[in-house]
């Protein structure tokens, strides 16, 4: 393949990977922005979402078919189910510790992550589950690069979800409440904002987005497993930091950038794909050291 076609192929791969990262990063970034909690369980909600979508699809594919007719309801079901799961997690594990030291909350988040992973492990026995759909490989050809309709729909869906979220947060009352809580929780309480409910809403939306990404990833890769959330959780966090944590356009930008970086990074001569994760983490550390506010983040003043 000529060089430009290799680059074009990697551009397509990077955009798809990046839109998954971006969707997961959004939830990370929203939760962090609102309650300053690094939700380690977020990557695992992506995994649970994939399984919920898989379960729903296997139930309904009999009459709805394994194509988009079945996948779309599966995605919606998974978003709802995992959204509710996110709210339950917040209620049970995080809300009692709202005033506790940060270390305790972080460790609790870690425990929730372990719990979700190991429940999934117990159910699947650690096996990969095949995520079969009847989507074909039809698509359009750009030179020797083949882009399937499925890939285009995946990227399109992610973009639509992100735009809807941005409109929600910037345009609605609830979105305004979220932004206000991010600035000062106590003042919000005094102004009559139901803080706990708004935080629950944040978890609902963030978890639902992760679930959507999980189902889309299952559709795209064709297999899911209990461990799929771990690495993507880390990378989504990296994406959120690169974009500027707490910023929604930042999370999207960071996700896409990270996806492209990873796709093109594997093409550098002498650097095998086994090194790509080292590459990503090194990038994260560099960003944290030299530009901790990310590309689009606001510089934060830590109050005493």
């Amino acid at each position: 393949m000529p060089l430009y076609e290799v680059l074009l192929q990697q551009l397509a791969n990077g955009l798809i990977l990046g839109s998954f990262y971006a969707l997961v990063a959004l939830g990370y970034s929203m939760v962090y922005g609102v309650i300053k909690l690094l939700n380690f369980a977020h990557g695992d909600l992506y995994m649970v979402g994939a399984f919920a979508g898989f379960g729903a699809l296997s139930l309904i594919s009999g009459w709805a078919g394994g194509g988009w007719g079945g996948i779309v309801p599966a995605i919606l079901f998974s978003m709802l189910a995992v959204g509710v799961l996110g709210v339950i997690i917040d209620r049970v594990a995080y809300r009692p510790l709202r005033e506790a030291p940060k270390l305790s909350v972080l460790i609790t988040a870690l425990a929730v992550s372990m719990l979700l992973e190991n429940v999934a492990l117990a159910f699947t026995g650690g096996q990969y589950t095949a995520f079969t759909t009847s989507l074909g490989f039809a698509g359009i050809n750009l030179g020797m690069v083949h882009v399937t309709w499925t890939q285009m729909v995946l990227v399109g869906t992610s973009v639509v979800l992100m735009v809807v979220l941005e409109l929600f947060v910037s345009g609605t009352r609830h979105g305004k409440a979220m932004r206000a809580i991010a600035i000062d929780q106590d003042a919000c309480r005094l102004m009559g904002i139901d803080v706990d409910r708004t935080i629950a809403l944040t978890f609902l939306i963030g978890s639902a987005l992760a679930a959507a990404a999980g189902v889309l990833a299952g559709v795209y890769y064709g297999s899911i497993n209990f461990f799929m959330g771990f690495l993507i959780g880390l990378k989504a966090f990296t994406a959120a930091v690169i974009g500027g944590i707490g910023s929604i356009p930042g999370a999207m930008l960071g996700g896409i950038l990270l996806g492209l970086l990873e796709a093109f990074g594997t093409q550098i001569p002498g650097v095998g794909s086994e090194w790509k994760d080292v590459f990503v983490f090194a990038f994260l550390i560099l960003f944290l050291v030299f530009r901790p506010t990310g590309l689009l983040g606001q510089p934060e003043v830590e109050r005493m």
Partner: protein, 315 residues
Amino acid sequence: MSEAAVRLGRPGWSIRRALGVVVLLAALAAVPGFANNYYLEVLSEAWFYVLLCLGLNIVVGFAGLLDLGYAAFFAVGAYTAGIVTLRLGLSFWLSLPISVVAASIAGVIIGGPTLRLRSDYLAIVTLGFGEMVRISVRNLAVTGGASGLVGIERPTLFGYHLDSIGAYYYVFLLLAVLGVVASHRLENSRIGRAWKYVRSDEDAARAMGINHAMVKLAAYILGAIFAAIGGCFYAAKMTAISPETFTFNQSLLILLGVVLGGRGKIPGVILGALVIVIFPELFRDVGSMRMLVFAISLLLIMLFRPAGIWPEKWR
């Protein structure tokens, strides 16, 4: 703590306490006289985890920094021992000072640029660092790739070849005791007080003239040294090491020991380390579910006893 010790203003030893410790140590030293190999194996592992948990406790307990990649320092020690003996053909004992230097460098690399960051960023960076180390040893030629290093020679001490489980029981018991003594001395030293000050109020500590970045860096380096020395002896005992020993789950397990027992309190941490080793042995049937049981217990402890089973007293 006895009256006299309180008057002297330093942690002291009452006769009763000293006697208790001597009796306990004598009892532990007598164990290989009657226990079979299975018990010795489990107990050696327990002492080993006591050392690792005490090391991580310096970072998490004393200094209050969350480290999710502690297994990386353990890996640095184990691989240093492997490389020094296998690749360079030097004595095992030389790997101890070399691994201390290597671990300090690793501590500075991870700590130096990130310690000025917020604590939750630090958690994720240490996690990333742990994964970087594991992926690197998996893919480098000098570390033997995915299959690791095999055939590490067991060391000889004063003409005595350390090649039985009984010998390693004593080695790890001694390391654990040294770890306890070192932790205790550190906790009550100038730097130990600085750690706790930074942990409870970083801004006030800075206002009092404590160099918070240096103090945190010291915690990372000292914690790393504990793990590196443990790692050297681990390599000597197992004679084979592979990258899969140093996964994120390993880091989590060590963290669990610290948090479960009571971070910041040495007896609590020892208890936690014993629990994480002995608990799965008692419940061999739950085998594969052990991490699930751990996750639930960790969650419950955080919700109902946030400071651990045997928590530190706040003075």
